[in-house]
């Protein structure tokens, strides 16, 4: 059993999700009595493999699951894959996978090109590091779900405006439900992204105050992109709230959630391919190295 679990790779669950996505896409081409079961079976197999992979890393790597960019992306993908499975079982005729699974695969792809090296942590800052990671994760998942709901709202509204009856195997949720989801996720994303950013500032301050680890400068690209993302999400949430009581409110919220997803994607790509001191191992001036290294070893080393 241990041998089997240790043999699970990212490719295993990515392939399962890809097959589930292919099944979802085939809804547009033909009808099938077994497709629903196959789709759920592949997604479930992928999620089980994904869970075992993360559990194996948690048991055998130090300070996971949110301790490296690799694990962060995989955990975000895992949450969205779980959400997809739940939504598909609850609403088998709604093609949520067409929108969610590409995001899941994209996050897995981002994980593959990200560093697996754990973010440097000390016991004193571990709690702030976890809070920072969890809030950012929640914000990203909320933005992805909001974008899904927003995209479905626009498609459904377009169909209803063109007086088209629903397709048999492609039934979309009601506008009311989608608008509610979009509105709620925009608010959650703004709050959690702001909390993630603030907890990052606190983490940085604690590091600087105790001289424990490398501090991230204000001009670091990650700080800038996160600040931009938070600013956008707060603006989007406020705009959605302001326009909520207008007839165009749901449409505005749908577009805002899609743009938020675009901003998040750009931010992730910037993080993946840009240079940053965020999460990098400590580099200290020669003069401070002796004292700093001593303090670092005292805090981090067992």
């Amino acid at each position: 059993m241990i041998e089997f679990v240790s043999g699970i790779s990212v490719v295993c669950f990515a392939a399962s999700y890809a097959v589930a996505l292919a099944c979802e896409a085939s809804r547009l081409l033909f009808r099938s009595g077994v497709r629903g079961a196959a789709m759920i079976a592949f997604a479930m197999a992928g999620l089980v493999a994904h869970t075992l992979f993360l559990a194996w890393r948690a048991a055998h790597e130090p300070a996971v699951p949110l301790s490296s960019a690799f694990d962060w992306y995989l955990l975000a993908a895992w949450l969205l894959a779980g959400g997809y499975l739940w939504l598909t079982i609850a609403n088998p005729r709604t093609p949520v996978g067409l929108f969610m699974l590409p995001v899941v695969l994209g996050l897995i792809g981002a994980a593959q090109v990200s560093s697996r090296a754990p973010f440097p942590q000390s016991p004193a800052t571990q709690i702030w590091g976890s809070i920072h990671g969890i809030f950012n994760l929640a914000a990203s998942v909320a933005v992805a779900i909001g974008a899904l709901a927003g995209a479905l709202w626009l498609i459904q509204a377009g169909r209803l405006a063109r007086k088209q009856p629903p397709l048999r195997s492609f039934r979309l949720p009601s506008l009311e439900r989608l608008a509610h989801t979009t509105d709620r996720t925009l608010t959650i994303a703004a709050w959690t992204a702001a909390a993630g950013f603030l907890s990052g500032i606190v983490l940085n301050a604690v590091n600087r105050q105790r001289g424990l680890l490398e501090t991230v400068p204000w001009t670091d690209p990650v700080v800038l992109r996160m600040a931009a993302l938070v600013a956008w999400l707060v603006t989007a949430a406020v705009a959605a709230r302001v326009t909520r009581r207008s007839a165009d409110g749901p449409r505005t919220a749908a577009w805002l959630s899609l743009v938020s997803f675009g901003v998040l994607t750009a931010s992730i790509l910037w993080g993946v391919f840009g240079t940053t001191r965020h999460g990098a191992p400590p580099v200290q001036p020669v003069a401070a190295q002796a004292v700093g290294q001593h303090a670092f070893e005292r805090e981090v080393m067992p």
Binding site: L160, Q164, P166, R168, L175, A247, G249
Partner: protein, 425 residues
């Protein structure tokens, strides 16, 4: 002949005659009792709905064949007190495989006025239950009706024949209003006018969960009557503007010759709606709502033509499912007829088996007498070996019989078996 059928539908029997021919549940029970007395040992099931009256009869070999279609026509005419000469030209009859195919098609909704309508399954089930209660259903009709219900289920699950809605009210509620609103129990429904289509739409809305329903009509009395009938409230037509502002879903069916809700009136209403979405089902001809209202943000306006187009698309979609449904009917008919034909071979197989067993037993007795020292375990082993040997010898002819039964009654093989093994009737 094992199965016979006679019947007429909306396609063959004029409405006036169909009304006279229709059986209530009590009349159907009486007719079945009379059938049992008139044709003892035969099986019969009477299916009577708004659109069809059909009698299915069956007779096993031992009890004689079922009454032929012309006798069934006379029987139905007698039961309903109608001159048989009126029924003969409009009722159709069939025998054996055609009967099975027809019943399977009926149960699957392929013969219904609305292709694929699901109510017929329950009606077929009721007809069979009534026959069971009246003791006119037997093994043949029992198996045939069970197979018909199974076929209907297969058609319903393996094809999309009955999935698309094709009536304007059902499409309006299930395909369009439900596309906008998640639930209806917290929505206010406003009905303008008191037409028949509006009443039907309100029934669908109530089934979908709508509770708060208000009816306004120029003639207050009609609104009150309809409201009382549908469990809704009646409002004043003069308050139309205020009611429109409060409504989430409007169904309009007045007989007005000019729009009841103009763009100007709606512009006033819109200001008081605070951006809430509004679904308008304008089922009136000419239209009650100015079509430009449908272009306002948050307004989803559907006219009869929009809904009729959706219904037509759904109807076409059902038609596309027809070949798949017919394939299932064909498969199930062949399977049923194969089983039925195979049943007719049972007496010959039974005699063949009995003859071989008798011979085997005689040989075993002789063997055991000559070998008295055999213990019980050895005797049991030898007996089992004999049984296995007989079963293996019987297998090829039985398999041939089953295979032959698929194409029809295997008379040739049965005769050959009787002659080869000297099987007496």
């Amino acid at each position: 002949m094992t199965l016979a059928f006679v019947g007429g539908t909306h396609r063959t029997v004029p409405l006036a005659l169909r009304e006279r021919l229709a059986f209530s549940a009590e009349q159907a029970a009486e007719a079945l009792t009379r059938f049992r007395e008139r044709f003892p040992g035969r099986e019969g099931v009477l299916l009577s709905t708004c659109n069809r009256v059909e009698f299915y009869a069956a007779g096993a070999e031992a009890d004689g064949p079922p009454p032929p279609p012309d006798q069934l026509v006379s029987f139905l005419a007698e039961c309903r007190g109608i001159d048989a000469s009126l029924l003969t030209p409009v009722l159709t009859g069939d025998l054996d495989e055609a009967v099975v195919r027809h019943l399977f098609s009926v149960a699957a909704g392929l013969d219904s006025m609305v292709l694929g309508e699901p109510q017929i399954v329950a009606q077929v089930k009721q007809a069979w239950s009534l026959a069971q209660e009246s003791r006119t259903s037997g093994p043949l009709t029992g198996e045939m009706f069970q197979a018909a219900l199974r076929t209907a289920k297969r058609v319903a699950t393996e094809t999309a024949l009955g999935r698309e809605r094709i009536s304007i009210p059902s499409v309006a509620v299930a395909d369009f209003a439900s596309g906008v609103f998640e639930r209806f129990d917290d929505k206010r429904v406003l009905l303008i006018g008191a037409g028949k289509m509006a009443a039907e739409t309100l029934r669908y809305l109530r089934a979908a969960g709508a509770r708060d329903m208000l009816i306004v009509n120029r003639t207050a009395g009609r609104a009150g009557d309809l409201a009382a009938r549908l469990g809704a409230r009646a409002g004043r037509f003069e308050n139309l503007s205020a009611e429109l502002a409060a409504a989430d879903l409007v169904v309009s069916t007045t007989g007005a010759t000019a729009p009841v809700v103009s763009l100007e009136l709606f512009a006033e209403v819109e200001l008081r709606r605070a951006g809430r979405p509004l679904v308008v089902l304008d089922l009136a001809v000419p239209r009650d709502f100015d079509p430009r209202i449908g272009q306002r943000p948050g307004v989803w306006l559907y006219s009869v033509d929009d809904l009729a187009a959706a219904c037509a698309a759904n109807r076409k979609s059902r038609q596309r499912e027809l070949p798949a449904a017919l394939t299932i009917i064909d498969e199930e008919t062949q399977r049923f007829m194969g089983d039925l034909h195979h049943r007719s071979t049972a007496p010959v197989i039974e005699r063949l088996r009995a003859g071989w067993n008798e011979t085997g037993e005689a040989e075993l007795d002789r063997l055991f007498r000559r070998l008295p020292g055999l213990d019980d375990a050895s005797r049991a082993e030898i007996r089992q070996a004999f049984d296995r040997y007989a079963a293996k010898l019987l297998h090829p002819p039985l398999a041939s019989l089953r295979s032959e039964s698929r194409a029809g009654p295997p008379h040739g093989l049965l005769d050959a078996l009787k002659r080869l093994f000297d099987l007496k009737d």
